[in-house]
């Protein structure tokens, strides 16, 4: 699955998937009249590359332990995860029509009732400790599989993140990959205004991580970065993924209120049109080759 050099058409296939996921998650949120629009759009390229390029997680091997694992620590962005898991064949696309509805298992946060979801998340600041435990178990069993988690940047105010970080370094978990969706926004505004986080790189380095920066919405850059795992033997890996909250829809991008705002009828149509145009552009480039 992993190749060292990737053709441009390979990247375009992944980019097309990101567009499909963006349309799907907007559809879900629009239908449920609830959801986390901005944070789902910001991390969907990360999830795309993880599930379609980096991790060996499939419906077939999901019941086994000797595979990679993923924990969606920023659980509120569940709509992005639902889109990716449906595409991976964990459940039929039509199941997503029930998201958030009375009696459905598809809640507004990840639960293990859903095929493909490993941990119940949604209360921020839990994912990293769970991932540390999973990575530690893999080490004890001599498995060389990797444990991934994506956290929000606002989530980093939770003390538990830093407690788990100390443990990750202490146990030299170079099979752990902690990814920060560094979109610089949380509900109330800019992270630096709400509760300043910087200098994040220095903080994470001081906590013992091998830290890398990447454009978290650039498929090729993500593929290139994750191909280099583990970054430094004996150190947990930390990716500062610089993203745009709401990425892919012009009027949603980088706007705090879109954290959990639901697109109106018109906004939904415009958003789909924008994503549709982006899809056409991709196809046009493909046609030229």
């Amino acid at each position: 699955m992993i190749t060292t050099t990737h053709s441009t058409s390979y990247f375009r296939e992944l980019q097309a998937k990101s567009l499909l996921y963006r349309m799907t998650l907007l559809k879900l949120i629009h239908a449920a009249k609830a959801g986390h629009t901005g944070g789902s759009l910001s991390c969907v390229d990360l999830l795309n590359v993880l599930y379609n390029h980096v991790m060996d997680i499939t419906p077939e091997n999901f019941s086994q332990r000797n595979r990679d694992h993923y924990v969606h620590s920023k659980g509120h962005a569940v709509e992005a995860l639902y889109a990716v898991l449906a595409d991976k064949g964990f459940f039929p696309w039509s199941d997503l029509e029930t998201v958030g509805k009375y009696g459905s298992h598809f809640a507004g946060h990840p639960t293990r009732d859903i095929p493909g979801i490993e941990q119940n998340t949604g209360a921020l600041g839990h994912g990293l400790a769970l991932t540390v435990g999973m990575a530690l178990a893999a080490k004890k069993d001599g498995l060389d599989h990797r444990m991934f988690t994506i956290m929000g940047d606002g989530e980093l105010a939770e003390g538990s993140v830093w407690e788990a970080s100390i443990s990750a370094a202490h146990y030299k978990l170079d099979n752990l990959v902690a990814i920060i969706d560094r979109n610089t926004l949380q509900i109330s505004g800019r992270t630096e205004d709400v509760m300043a986080l910087e200098p994040l790189e220095d903080k994470f380095k001081a906590f013992g991580y091998a830290v890398r920066h990447v454009d978290g919405n650039d498929i090729a850059a993500l593929v290139d970065l994750f191909d280099q795992l583990p970054f430094e033997p004996g150190k947990p890996n930390l990716v500062l993924a610089h993203t745009t909250k709401g990425k892919g829809v012009s009027f949603i991008e980088d706007k705090a209120p879109w954290h959990h705002k639901v697109p109106s009828e018109t906004e939904y149509e415009i958003a789909l049109r924008e994503l549709g145009l982006a899809e056409k552009d991709l196809e046009a480039v493909d046609g030229l080759e």
Binding site: G100, K101, G108, H109, T121, G154, I187
Partner: protein
């Protein structure tokens, strides 16, 4: 007044926020602490108007409660505002040690409580808060039923000498009380006329009071009388009012937006048993199972916390007793 003619008010959350605005204007010692929760707490206008009286902590509920206790220990009147689910789980040890045990009178405000975040799943439900806080000494526990109780509870909390927890939801609530109603922390409010005898006692707390009250109207149509109590305070607990309601009724139903374990129902049952009052009682709440998702209303209906559901439970209980 019946469920059709009862006027709708705002969300208790809105009333909390506007009451706090009024109070803070005249008291610079009133502080609000938030954990990226000012929007959910309807406190953006507060932050704009009194920027020096809102302390943002970021997404860190333990830190929120610890800092609030420190502020309170220095004489500040602190309202620590965060979703009830995180506040009373994640920050429970801070509540126990730094607030209750240390006797720093923080006003711990659990917003979007119970199943207000119904579709968001169990991480976002607080069905445990009454239980855990009742097991911790020295923190009063209040869940107002409507806008009137909310405004009065918030006012009472400002100068309350002890730590206090107040929880409410985010849906618009029917106005159940006259604004002049007598509200006192620890004193239940009887919502139906006082009589010598009732068919059923409906003891409810928080946002479950409205369905209990409307159930009494459904039962009245069938000629049955009810004693409906809004037991807004779990601590101090109004034993006298509960004893009156129960001993003058044929059966009792308790109703709460909380686990059936450790909340109002358990409190009432323990009190009655130990007072030697042996009496048919049924606890309605969220059962000990994986909670269904949906809106607050859908979840209420699912578990029989509705006018029809409670009326049905009352009839079953009364027939059972008659047999």
């Amino acid at each position: 007044m019946d469920s059709n003619s009862t006027p709708m008010g705002l969300a208790n959350l809105d009333i909390f926020a506007s009451t706090l605005m009024e109070l803070a204007a005249n008291d610079r010692d009133i502080l609000v602490t938030t954990s990226d929760s000012r929007g959910s707490g309807k406190l953006v206008p507060f932050a704009d108007k009194f920027p020096d009286q809102l302390v943002e902590i970021g997404i860190a509920e333990q830190n929120l409660v610890g800092i609030s206790a420190g502020l309170a220990s220095m004489g500040k009147k602190v309202f620590a505002v965060s979703p009830a689910c995180f506040l009373t789980a994640r920050a429970l040890e801070q509540i126990k040690n730094d607030v209750a045990y240390s006797d720093h009178p923080v006003k711990v405000i659990g917003i979007s409580a119970g199943v207000s975040y119904g579709s968001l799943g169990t991480t976002h439900h607080s069905l445990h808060d009454f239980a855990v806080l009742q097991a911790i000494n020295n923190i009063d526990i209040i869940a107002p039923a409507d806008n009137v109780e909310t405004a009065l509870a918030v006012r009472a909390a400002v100068h309350h000498p002890r730590p206090v927890y107040i929880r409410f939801g985010k849906k618009a609530m029917p106005i159940l009380h006259d604004p002049q109603v007598h509200f006192e922390i620890g004193k239940a409010i009887q919502m139906t006329p006082v009589q010598d005898e009732y068919d059923i006692a409906l003891l409810a707390i928080g946002e479950a009071v409205a369905p209990a009250y409307f159930a009494s109207q459904v039962l009245a149509e069938q000629g049955l009388t009810s004693c409906v109590l809004s037991v807004h305070s779990l601590r101090p607990f109004d034993e006298a009012a509960v004893e009156h309601a129960v001993t003058h009724s044929k059966a009792t139903i308790t109703v709460e937006e909380h686990s059936v374990n450790g909340g109002l129902g358990s409190r009432v049952a323990a009190f009655l048993m130990q007072a030697g009052i042996f009496h048919p009682i049924h606890i309605v709440g969220i059962p000990d199972e994986h909670t269904v998702i949906g809106s607050q209303g859908e979840i209420f209906n699912h578990y029989g916390i509705s006018a029809q559901g409670l009326a049905k439970t009352a009839l079953q209980l009364l027939h059972k007793e008659a047999v």
